[in-house]
Subunit: 369 residues, 2 copies
């Protein structure tokens, strides 16, 4: 079998991780603050990094809690806010681990359709008018996982209006925000309504995943409650890793790393779109303006399960659309371009198209949506 090409994992390839910069940051961090890196620290995270994050967001430090990756931030937030039976709004499709995490807590998960300009806020309004009383709406506003779509400015405003009107919390899950390579940045919802929104982000996509540093920004009272959960889960998060991130951020390494990553992602996304247009014209997609992911809709009736197997036989991996929804999604797939070079993308799309030809016999040309 040929070398595996993975469009499955939302993770960067090693060539766009600044390993030498991290080595230097580790060395400097241990020299500058040996006590801070080696001691327990506190559950709010490494204090200088917490301050750096607070400054970047223009909020007081007591609104920030730094965690072992943003997945853990999500888990703490759900532990604090979501009881079994509580209604939680999520996007359709959405990040599979969020779905699992909410369902594992016994939440009543309601999916609201995601459009190329973000959540269908009119559909959300209908759900609310029909009587749903959500505790929380989980939204990935920028370059959404898995769809790659971004919530428009107008929809951000409308969503916050609905949240105030129906008294629910907006969970703005924003790990990809720094990875915009086209178009204009939009204000975060947490900056638009700091009392109504809890914001999570991560250094996994801008430094590296193995460093496992994420954070929450939210109302001080909620952050204090989550701090207690963090103490009982692990006393304190990783001071060594957070000290390295702090040094990397303050020395300018982070901004350089973001530039490198964005340039690579832009090229990879463009290559992927071009290859799909050429090799697999049946694929429908919205060219992403940032982030890691491209969502592909195939003609209605396409058998993505069969495509998945046929692609795997050719050494190509992706994630089936059905993994990101409660039901349906059977003619869609997610392609991650973060971990593959342009050459691998060329080769991978050729193989994928070949697999599609093999499995697509008899499918109509109508596009599912």
């Amino acid at each position: 079998m040929p070398k595996t090409i993975s469009f499955a994992r939302g993770a960067p390839s090693l060539d766009i991780v600044d390993v030498d910069g991290l080595r230097a940051a580790a060395d400097a961090a241990f020299q500058k603050d040996p006590a801070g890196l080696t001691a327990y620290g506190t559950a709010v995270g490494y204090v200088p990094l917490r301050e750096w994050i607070a400054e970047r967001h223009g909020v007081p430090t007591e609104r920030v809690l730094v965690t072992n990756g943003s997945m853990q931030a999500d888990a703490f937030l759900f532990d604090a806010l979501v009881e079994p039976g509580d209604t939680v709004i999520v996007e359709r499709p959405t990040y599979d681990r969020t779905l699992l995490s909410l369902r594992g807590r016994g939440a009543d998960v309601r999916m609201v359709e995601l459009e190329p300009d973000g959540l269908d806020v009119q559909a959300l309004e209908r759900v609310l008018k029909a009587g749903a009383q959500p505790k929380l709406a989980h939204i990935i506003p920028n370059f959404q996982n898995p769809a790659g779509y971004t919530l428009s400015a107008a929809k951000r405003e409308r969503l916050l209006e609905l949240a105030r009107e129906h008294d629910f919390v907006v969970f703005e899950d924003d790990p990809y925000v720094a990875l915009r390579f086209a178009g204009e940045s939009l204000p975060t919802m947490v900056s638009m309504d700091p009392e109504r929104v809890v914001y999570a982000s991560s250094f996994s996509k801008t430094v590296c995943p193995g460093i496992r540093v994420g954070y929450l920004v939210g109302p001080a009272e909620l952050i204090a409650r989550i701090q207690k959960l963090a103490v009982s889960a692990y006393i304190s998060p990783n001071m060594v890793a957070q000290g390295i991130v702090n040094e990397f951020a303050r020395s300018g390494g982070l901004d350089n790393s973001i530039d490198t990553v964005k340039r690579a992602l832009q090229e990879r996304a463009r290559t992927l779109c071009e290859c799909l247009e050429r090799e697999l014209p049946e694929a429908r997609f919205v060219p992403p303006e940032g982030g890691y992911f491209l969502w592909v809709d195939l003609p209605r009736g396409s058998d993505v399960n069969a495509l998945f197997k046929a692609a795997a036989e050719r050494g190509v991996q992706f994630v089936k659309g059905s993994d990101f929804v409660l039901e349906g999604g059977g003619s869609s797939l997610r392609l991650a371009y973060s971990g593959v070079t342009p050459e691998e993308i060329e080769e991978g799309v050729s193989r994928l198209a070949e697999a599609y030809r093999e499995t697509a016999t008899g499918v109509t040309a109508e596009v599912a949506h």
Copy 2:
């Protein structure tokens, strides 16, 4: 007020942390395995460190899971095994965070008296004969926190017999095992009965707390279940920190660090015992053979709450005995000698004795136990 001297926190002073060794290990780890340190990795932990731990324990790797500190290992284990209402045996006194964690889960916590040679296994037998059906017994076998006592070889065997007879799991919580500075090492219970015991340990006391690396050793089926909990909590633990620990361990830095720590602890423990004998002859204690802690019983009727305040006024901190039990403990205290130099110990005990004289008026000379 004079400079604070803290006998409160179970943490090492910076002078016994090998910061330069950690810097070197970080540098080498990033150079040798950049992909392994920077990628997500998996929920079982950094694979080479998992292998190193498995070798040290002489077990297959599938019995090992590396976590973000051993507190998190405890939390996962309790999540996997303890339902609300389940009976759990703990030592009296025991680590306050374990008590909180179990009570937070709604466990029916039964404390069994701890003697200078470890858990009173006859008292445990009486509890079992009276009908208790514990799911789990939580035991800190070496240099127990807070008492500093060690479970004897004979009692280890008897405890395992009782566990088999009454079908409960022994949770061997062993973060201090490497810090023996007097007497003979005893076999771990997990090596005596690998199917009946789940073992946890940590690098917090041998490398540093801020590195947040701990681990579990247990039956493969249970480890696989806990791996699933770990995936949903944080995807994977800290690869950077675990890569540094792996390099530190394999390069010999860890063994050097343990030697340094043990020598310092031995001197600190000896100084503390000598000072107490001289300055506070009313104090009753067992000289520790390792670890961080000395448990002090004061004469029955002593008011440790008042002592706590009077000591704080003199800049001396300790933890009240009552924090480590469900009720009672009012004439005992825990002194941690891990974070204080011999000079600080001399000064701290003088101040503590002065505080005691101030508060002890009218107390009888009978020792509480």
